[in-house]
Symmetry: D2
Subunit: 346 residues, 4 copies
C-alpha cells in the first residue's frame, strides 16, 4: 500500500508533536509539508524534521496533490474555518479539539465536510489511551453493570503563558480543558449529557478575568438515561498533570489515573515521595500515537473515524452549556444535534 | 479526677459501638446506663457489656444523678427532641449527625441547649481521624496555600436494609450521608458554603422512590470566599466503603482516602488485587474513639466542643439546600445562621 | 467467667504497652501487678495505669496467688530464667522473643515448663496481624499453590539508644530483629528452615562493633521441602518502620507490607509524598492486642498456644545459625529439636 | 551527519525488537540487513520491516561495507564468537547479555575487540530506564547517603518454551536472568561484588533438571566497600513480569518497580484489582530504545559506551560465581579482572 501524504497545519507544541509522530513513528504515512502562521516556526520545524515543504498558511498545503490528509493543530478559533478549507480541497482531516468555538461554526463545518465527502476525525485522543480503551471494553462487556456515576478530574500543572490567551486561543476553561472530560463522559457512559450545572472560580488567579477565563470549574452532569456525574478542571495544580476518571456502575467501579512520573519511590526522613507526571504529552504519548495511526488507517480504508465530527460537536455543546450555566447561574439543558433540548428518562 | 458517668440513647450499630468504646477504652468514663426504644435490645446490650442499668426510653437515663453526659444515637428523626430532653435534664450531649431534620428543629434544640448551659457536641467524627486531622493542620500551616477546590466521594458498600428507611430514619441521602462531606468542606476550607447545585438519581434503585431517597447524588459547592467544590454520595458501591477527600490549594493538594482493608496484595494470573475496607466502623474506628475521648475531656474541662451545635446546624443547612436543589432543579442559596442568605466574595 | 489475674515483668516500652492493653482493652483480664528491675519505673507505671501492686523483681509477682499468668518483657538475656521462675511458680507465660539467647537455655526453659504443666506462648505477634493472618489462611486454602520462595524485609527507623545495648539486651541483629522473619518463614511456608547463609555489615555504623552487633544483614534460607528464601534486617532506615513480606507460590504471590502512616497523600511542586509509619507499636498495635487476647483465652481454656515454646525455640535456632554463618563465613545447617541437623528434600 | 548503517544478527523476539527500533524510531540509523541461522525467519523479518538484505549467517552482514555496526541478539552461546567475528570485520558492536558463557570466552572476546579498536557495548538496558537512570543520578548526588544494601527481585511471568533451553540458549537462571540484577548492583552501588552465596530450587519445576536450570534462586552479595545485598530470580511468577530494585542508604532508600500494566483500578465485590505488566518488552520499551539511540550516538562520536565490555565481563563473573556457589554449597569469591580474587574492606 502506498504511503498517505500528510500535512500539518499549526506546529506549536501540539502540532509539532503530531508532526514528529508522522515523521518517525508511522511508517504508513509520509510527512509532506507543515504550515504555520508564524512562517519562521514552520521553517524551523521543517528543517528539524527534514520535511520537504513549509508554508506560512494552510493554503500552500491544500494545493499540493501529494497531500491526502491534514492534521489541524492551529489555535482553536481557526479550527472550524480550517476544517472547511481542508474539506473544500478534498483533504481528509484530523482536527484538534474543540472543533469550533460555537455550535453554528461547528454545524457549518460539518455541513461542508458532508458535502465534500471527506473524513473528519476530532482529536479526543484519550479514547486511544490503553487504560481508557480497556475501561470502555470492560463497560461494554458488562463488567461493572449499568454505569450510574461519571467522575472526572483534569488538572494542568500550570497556567498557559499569557501569549496563549492573547493569541486568540480558546480562552475558556470548559472549551479548552473540560471538553476532554465531556467526551469521555459520553463515550464511557454510552449516553448523552442532557443538562449541566456549573460553578467556576478565579480565586487566586484574578488576572484571568481579562481573558474571560476561569482558574477552576466544577460541572454537574445529568445523562439521558438517568446517570449523573461531575467534571472538575483546574488550570494550575503545581504538582503535575493530573487526569483521573471514574465510572461507577451498579456492579463495580473503574478508576483510571496515573500520577507517577516513573516507577520510583524515594524514602527519606521526610517520608515517601515520588515525582508526578508533568505534561500531557508524557501522560498521553501512546494515545496520541495510536490516534494518528488509527487516523491513517481510517483514511486508507475509508472507515468511520474513531471520534466523529458529530462527537466533536456534542462535546462542544456540553462545554458551551457549562459555560452558560456558569455565566447565568442556572442549570442549562444541552441542545441536541437538531438544536432542540434533549430529554432524559423520567 | 472522678469518672464521668455516661448513658447511651439508642444502641443500634452506632450506639452500641459508642457504648463499647465507653465501656472498654475510655478509662475516664463509666458507662452507667443504656436505653433503646426496643427494650429487648437495651437489655441484651446491657448484659453483653455488663452495664448496670437499661431502659426502654431516654427518660430513665435522664433521671439518674450518676449520669452526667449522654450519647444520642437514636434514629435521626428523634435527635432534636432527644437533645432538648437531655439539655433540660442538665446532661451534656454528644449527638450523632444530623442533629435534626429541619432548621427549625435544630434552632429549637440549640436554644434549649443554650438556656440549659450544657455542652453539645455533634458526631462529625471524621474531624478526629488522624489523616483528616493532619490535613487540617497542614492547611492551617499554609502548606497548600489558599484552598480553592474541595472534592469528596462518599460511597457505602450497600443499601441499608428496608427497616432502616421504614423505622423513621433519615430517609434522605444528603442528610444521612453527604452531610459528612459538607462538614468536612466547611472545616477544611475554613469557609462557609453559600450556594449548592445538585443532581440525584434513582438509576438502578427504583425501590428507593418509596422512601423519598436517592441512590446517588452530586452536589456542586460555592464558598463565601470564592472557592468551589463537589461532593458525591452513592448508596451501594458493592466493592466496599470508600471515602475520599481532596483539598486543592494554590500551592498544593491533599488527598485523603484509604481503600485497602489490610496491607496485603494478592498476585495471581488475574493480576494484582486487594480487599477493600468494608465498613465505616472499620475505616473510622480510631476517629470514633478519639471523638468520644475528646467529648469526655470537654465535659471534664468545660471546653468548647470540637464540633459545636452551630457546626451541626450549618452542615444541616447545606444538606437541606442540596435536597431542595435536587427537588426544584435549581441552584439554592444556603441560609446563614440568621436565616438570611449568605453572600460570597465578589 | 472470672477475670484472669495478670502480672507484667519488665515495663519498658514493650512491657508497658502490654500492661496498657491488659489494663484497658481486655475485659477478661485484670492487671494485678507490674515488676521492673528499675523499681522507680515499676512504681511510675503502676501509678499511671492504676495498678495495685508493683515490685522491683519478678519474685513479688510470682508469690501472689491472684496472679495466674505473667507477661515477660524483660531484657532478652533474662527471658529463659524468667520463664523458669514463672513456670516453677505455676504461672502461665507469654514471653517476648527471643525466648532465650542459646539453645541450651531454651531447652532448659522448655523442660521446666513441661514439668510444671504451665502454658508458654512466645511473643511472635505478627502471626496475629490481620494481613499476615489472612495470608496464612490463603496459603492453607491453596490460593497460591505450593510456596516456593519466602522474602522478608524488616527495617527499624533508627538504632536503639546505647543503653539498649549496654543493659544486656539482645545485642545481635539476627536474634533481636530477624528472628521475627524466621518465625514468619516457618509459619507461612509451613516448613522448617534447614540451612542458612548470611552476610552482615557494619557499614556506616562502626560503633556497633563494640556491642558485637550488626547494622544490616541478609540471610538466605533453605527449607526442608525445597523452598528457598531471604530475610533482610536493617537497624536504621531513617524513613520509618518498614516490614514487608512476600510468599511466592507456584500459582500466585502474596505481598504484605504497609508504609503509609495515614491515608493521606500530599501533592506539591516537589511531587507526591506521604508519611511512613514510624514505630512497630503503631504498625502492629492490632497484632499485640490480638496476641494478648488470644493468650488470655488460651489460659482460660487451657488450649495449645498460637505460638508455642517449640516455635520460639526453632526461630531461635535459625537466628543462631544465621549468626554463626555470618561469623564463620560459611553456610550453616539448622539443628532440629533433637540437636541433630535437619535434612531437606533431595 | 550521514546515517549509521546497522545490521542485526539474530531476529528472534529480542533481535526483531531491536530491528524495529532501528527501522522506525532512530532516524540517525539505517537498518541495512538482518541475519538469522533460521534463514526463513531472516527473510520474513526483512520482508515485514522492508529491509533490503537478509542472510542465514552473520557472515553476509559482516562483508557489507554499508554496515558500520552490528546488534548481536543470537542465542547466548554464540555471543562471544559473534563479537569476535564482528570485531575482526571492523564493525562496532551492541551485544545482548550475557556477553559470553565463560570468563575465558569473555576475555578472548575483549582481547579481539581491543585489537580491532571497535566499540563494544553490552545490552544491560535497564541502565537506560528512566527510573533506574534517575536513581543513579540521585545516588551520585548523595541523596541517600552511602549505599549499604542492594535488593533485587526479577520474576518472569512464565517459563520459556522448551525450545529456548534446547536451542543452546543460556540454560542457567543466574546467567540468563539474575545477571541483570548483578549489573544493576555494581552500577547503583558504585562498587564491586566480591563474594556471593546462593541457594537455588527446582521446587514445582522438576523438568528443568534436564537443562541444568533452576526455577528460582536467591543470591547474597558482599561488596568491596562493605555493602551487602540479595538478588532473587524466579522463572514463572504467573502474575506478570515483576522487576523491583531497592538501594538502601544511610540517609534514604530508593525503590524502583512497576506492577501496573495500565493506570486502571477495577473495583468489584471481590475488592480492588489491576492488571500487571506482562512482558519485559513492555516494561523496558523505553530503555531498549534509549539504549539503541545511545549506541548509535556512541558509534557516531566514538565515545566510551554506557555499558562497556568490562561491565559485561564483571556481571558475568558474578553470575558464574553464583552458579558455582549453588552447585558447591559454599560462598564463592568473585574473581577480579585479573582473575585474582577481590578483597573487601576490613
Amino acid at each position: 500500500m502506498s504511503k498517505i501524504g500528510l500535512g500539518v497545519v499549526g506546529v506549536g507544541t501540539m502540532g509539532k508533536h503530531h508532526a514528529e509522530n508522522v515523521r518517525y513513528r508511522i511508517p504508513e504515512a509520509q510527512l509532506v509539508a507543515v504550515a504555520d502562521a508564524d512562517g519562521d516556526r514552520a521553517r524551523r520545524v521543517s528543517s528539524e524534521l527534514e520535511v520537504a515543504h513549509y508554508y506560512d498558511s494552510p493554503a500552500g498545503i491544500l494545493e499540493r496533490k501529494d497531500v491526502q490528509a491534514v492534521v489541524i493543530a492551529s489555535p482553536a478559533k481557526f479550527h472550524a474555518s480550517h476544517i472547511q478549507a481542508c474539506a473544500r480541497a478534498g483533504k481528509d482531516i484530523l482536527c484538534e479539539k474543540p472543533m469550533a468555538l460555537t455550535l453554528e461554526a461547528a454545524d457549518a463545518a460539518l455541513e461542508t465536510v458532508a458535502e465534500a465527502g471527506v473524513i473528519l476525525q476530532i482529536g479526543h485522543m484519550r479514547r486511544y489511551d490503553p487504560a481508557y480503551a480497556d475501561a470502555k471494553r470492560r463497560i461494554e462487556a458488562g463488567e461493572i453493570g449499568d454505569p450510574i456515576i461519571f467522575k472526572a478530574v483534569g488538572r494542568d500543572p500550570e497556567l498557559p503563558a499569557p501569549i496563549y490567551f492573547q493569541s486568540g486561543s480558546n480562552g475558556m476553561l470548559f472549551l479548552d480543558s473540560t471538553i476532554h472530560e465531556f467526551d469521555l463522559a459520553r463515550w464511557l457512559m454510552n449516553d448523552e449529557i442532557v443538562e449541566v450545572q456549573s460553578f467556576g472560580t478565579l480565586r487566586g488567579f484574578p488576572e484571568l478575568a481579562q481573558y474571560g477565563d476561569l482558574a477552576a470549574g466544577v460541572v454537574n452532569l445529568r445523562f439521558a438515561r438517568g446517570g449523573i456525574g461531575n467534571a472538575e478542571s483546574f488550570r494550575q495544580a503545581t504538582y503535575g498533570y493530573d487526569v483521573r476518571t471514574e465510572i461507577v456502575g451498579s456492579r463495580g467501579t473503574l478508576c483510571i489515573g496515573r500520577m507517577r512520573k516513573t516507577p520510583q519511590l524515594v524514602l527519606t526522613q521526610g517520608g515517601a515521595s515520588h515525582q508526578v507526571v508533568e505534561h500531557f504529552l508524557a501522560r498521553f504519548a501512546e494515545a496520541y500515537l495510536s490516534e494518528l495511526r488509527d487516523f491513517v488507517q481510517t483514511v486508507q480504508k475509508r472507515k468511520i473515524p474513531g471520534v466523529t465530527g458529530q462527537d466533536g460537536r456534542r462535546a462542544l455543546a456540553v462545554a458551551l452549556a457549562a459555560q452558560r450555566s456558569y455565566q447565568e447561574s442556572c442549570p442549562v439543558a444541552v441542545p441536541g444535534d437538531s438544536g432542540r433540548v434533549q430529554k432524559s428518562a423520567p
